[in-house]
Assembly symmetry: D2
Homo-oligomer: 287 residues x 4
């Protein structure tokens, strides 16, 4: 794919926003390769995401940021915007425990080039997934979580994560609840996969809860991590049909296939700046 600049922008809706941005880009000769717009009817907030063919612009990304900042300032007193350069490589740190299906899946996508990112570190509170990680040439850090006070362990995780300056921190069935300060520090960058169709079955053992309630579909939810458990902005969800013959073990096994796909989808959208968070909801510009 050719190099692109990805503009994401949000401000209170009013007449002329699209015209201003589009005219700004057109005057520079910038070719819009993909564009999406949305206005939230409840809050009156306007969102847009635009991909510009970098080769059609006579200025570099820093200059684009400077000039776009002026446009943004004219459009609204308070706006929220970013310009991402697809040429700057994205870094992903993955947190795991013992269950490997989400990790395997991400590493497979990286190895095949489907997910074109660097994975500077995988961190596990158990060592089980070290061999497969290292087989992919990726550094695995084992940080044991002792019973009782876990603050030391979380400090170690924090240092390892932040040393990598990641664009995404993926909790790939990490099974440890992040302390509020880490949720705060990593807000908008930490993605979790929860093995239920949220808001059903928050917390521990969602498949057991699902089995007990006798639901006919089980689900998985990818969401941003916030201090309130399993309550952050939802990025994507999917479900799979189950029946009376499915034991909890069957549900665990079958649920993995949606967990890994939903997580991979959410991660891709996050890395492509397709997700705009607004309050506790997400706008996802999928194409």
């Amino acid at each position: 794919m050719t190099r692109r600049y990805v503009i994401t922008f949000g401000c209170p809706d009013r007449v002329g926003i699209v015209a201003s941005i589009a005219t700004f880009l057109a005057e520079l000769g910038g070719m819009i390769v993909e564009a999406a717009y949305h206005t939230d009817q409840d809050t009156g907030w306007f969102f847009t995401r635009q991909e510009i063919d970098a080769a059609t612009l006579p200025i570099d990304v820093d200059e684009l940021r400077t000039r776009f900042g002026e446009v943004a300032a004219r459009l609204a007193e308070h706006s929220d915007w970013q310009i991402m350069d697809t040429a700057s490589r994205r870094r992903v740190v993955i947190l795991v425990s013992r269950e490997g299906h989400c990790l395997y899946d991400i590493l497979g996508r990286v190895a095949s080039g489907e997910l074109d990112v660097d994975v500077p570190a995988v961190i596990g509170n158990h060592p089980d997934l070290a061999p497969i990680t290292e087989a992919h040439g990726i550094r695995f850090h084992h940080v044991p979580f002792p019973p009782g006070d876990r603050s030391g362990a979380f400090a170690a995780v924090r240092d390892l994560v932040e040393a990598a300056e990641p664009h995404a921190i993926v909790l790939a069935r990490f099974m440890q609840i992040l302390p509020a300060q880490l949720c705060e520090r990593w807000a908008g960058r930490a993605l979790n996969i929860h093995h239920s169709f949220l808001p059903s079955f928050v917390g521990a053992k969602p498949y057991h809860q699902a089995h007990q309630r006798g639901v006919k579909l089980i689900g998985a939810t990818c969401h941003y991590v916030t201090a309130e458990l399993d309550a952050g902005p939802i990025i994507d969800q999917d479900v799979i049909r189950v029946g009376h013959a499915d034991s909890v073990t069957d549900m665990v096994r079958r649920g993995r296939d949606i967990e890994k796909v939903v997580l991979a989808r959410g991660l891709r959208w996050h890395l492509e700046n397709r997700i705009l968070v607004h309050g506790n909801r997400t706008v996802v510009f999928q194409y």
Copy 2:
């Protein structure tokens, strides 16, 4: 379809149940057209449903019930069984309010012969759906629900329903919470369609709740009515994908398409004795 006797049977699992039932039927020359088995691993309860080609049996359904009762008694001290004759016509009473999509859908299926049942009465707490009901040649009863004490209204509904001796009482977006005594009286016969993916979004305005939580799929659930609101045994569920651009109004509109399909599916299974309730869960022998 040729006439069939449908046996449903449940008892604590042990060696030899299938052999006893199958031998009993084979000795009568009964041809099993469809058979399904399940054992609940948590409770050790065995379930089966069998369809017998009535023409292959030398005895009538009453005699079959007598003799099968002897088999059942030999198999377990406490068993739970029923024999349904597909030649005896099924009656369905429908309770509605103002929203017509589920009613239209059921009446359309009845009119086309897809659902081969009698509908002796449709009862509404508003008169809005009388014309379409009467256009199908079906009697519509308007029972107004005054603010305040609703016990008189519910007594009227009860009398109308029970006069029809229905096999199924369908709450097709009825919007009134049945009192506990009616739930009790109609246990296992009253089906509700709830416009969410239960257990998410119990109670009023589930699409508003779903919109506010920012879910990416909305759902519908058909379940048996019990005294605890929206907590009865789930019969079927389905979902449809939504996105940030869907307003509550869009969700309401789009959700209708799954509500009506899920309700129709649940009703069909109920009428064909495909659903065996066990605690708060259902075994659904779909085929």
Copy 3:
């Protein structure tokens, strides 16, 4: 919903199209309520659809058409555009045979106000569906199709359809193959529902074909009618899981639930000018 003008526009892609259209609208004070863009990478064709809040424009729809025509002419020698006023009521004519599920479904949506259109006529080659049509206060025309030469029957259908000046002509399981001249006359206005996942199982008895091939999902396809049978631009498709226990009769019954939903979805998008046809493919701006 407030009154809106819906602009659909397509031309060869180049820098500045969005800027021109957005600036034109902004200068008039027009508030864009919904906007979508797409460029086909194979042909380099640009597409957009925009909904403008009519109340924010100082000019009427005719004046808007005149002025937008000038913008369009400046943007490209050959462009393709339309402006639809949601205040002008849409007319739908429905062609049926004996199977009523799609007709029932559309009439139910019209009766409940979900589909806010006029249905000036339903035309059937059999009289079976006259009563339900007339119960909705809609005129039913029976046009018998004798064996042998059907040109007279088709001429009668043509006259009835065209007298209604419909925005959509819906073949709701009509079961007659339209002659090429009618396909031509009604190009882009005639929608068919085919009971398979096209391009699988073109032509007659698709459920029989599906059963024989042993597929594990059956489908339905809504498409524009063209002279080549079941080969027109696809608008929407959906599928439902089937298994070895489903007979052809089961497939017919279960398939209806997706046929009617897919057709209703396609019809809605068509009437809201959400579908732009390009060659034999469609761009569907769903939101």
Copy 4:
């Protein structure tokens, strides 16, 4: 899971089959853990699959085979049956080319214990996937396929495959058409994943075909390999929604997620003897 004997049996349907088999098992004290039945209405062929708790039987699997053979012989002149012992480990050989997503997925399932099988060999016509295979401790064989005569290469593949005596030969995006003799030799053991919703888009480049036709869902099909290309008995299929914004490249990427899940599901069912082939159709006893 405790050790089980899995009986699969098929013969022309008649009264008393279930009784005979169930009585035979009950007299031995065998506990049926799972049972499923089906009669094909077109051909009158009866199918059953039963899982017996091995610990409840007083005889070993060889003795069970001998005695069950006598039952089978009494039931029909020509029947088709097998008894599989879950204690005997299953072997899977995987054939690949350059695309690794299906291989990664299977190896991940094996590594995590979800798929409890041996993989004695992975064979590739390109060496690309050797490192990941070897990282899992599995032997990779590179068999180059020169342009022109490929019979030598296929002979090498045949020898490598057959040396492993596999229960399943998985064509995990192998991209080479097996010669008819190999299809014959491996009938009922060779599974292919085709990247379309068959029978649509047989042969090469199905995503290109799908894109050109403008379908709104793309699919994947797992089927047994037969001499006629992509025409063998279908085991499982699934689809994913696509839109006008999806390029062929997007379809290729998104399709992988269903390819790998459908293939894994088919492989599991095959290894658990859940699939009974009858003519060109499959009976899949999923639970």
